[in-house]
Amino acid sequence: MSTFFLCTALFLCFLMLASLYRAIFGPTVLDRLVGVNAIGSKTVILLLLIGFLYGRVEMFIDIALAYAFLNFITVLAASRYFHKRKGLYEESFLE
């Protein structure tokens, strides 16, 4: 069972790399925000899996809970911050 958890965690890391592509090369700023949000929601599960692998669930579960809260607040704050940037994205839609 522990090897299965390890494979799941590795596959999750691979998926995080795939979302990192959007976070780096995204044409607009908000695309990068979407990528970061996706990475954060995978990290919660990754933390839980690490807790099960090390046999210390009750410690890692608190970190996962705090990370879920922090991810939500990060996305809210960043999207509020980019409210007032009108015309920031125009050049990417010229094609």
Binding site: A18, L48, F52
Partner: protein, 106 residues
Amino acid sequence: MDILAIFFLVTGLIFFTGGAIGIIRMPDFYSRLHPAGKLDTLGIFAMVLGLIFYSLHHFSMDTLISILKMLLIVFFVFLSSPTATHSIVDAGMRAGLRHWTKKKRR
């Protein structure tokens, strides 16, 4: 119990894969939000369900409390993920991004 856990974990992994591939393949920012916001939510739900089934092996007070905490994570994610998605869409709308439409090819 192990079979249920593996089944739910694999289901969650499929949803996560769909989310990651959808983020890469979709043509514009609004349609990228569809897989990002919601396939990930259901993926978290399925994987946490699998982990709960796995941790039901030896039942004690500690496992009960960690199961309650995992359910708290699921509850919070179901509450916060639509809010975050809506906030990002709102930011895009106020910045004046147009959404991708199908171009007429002739």
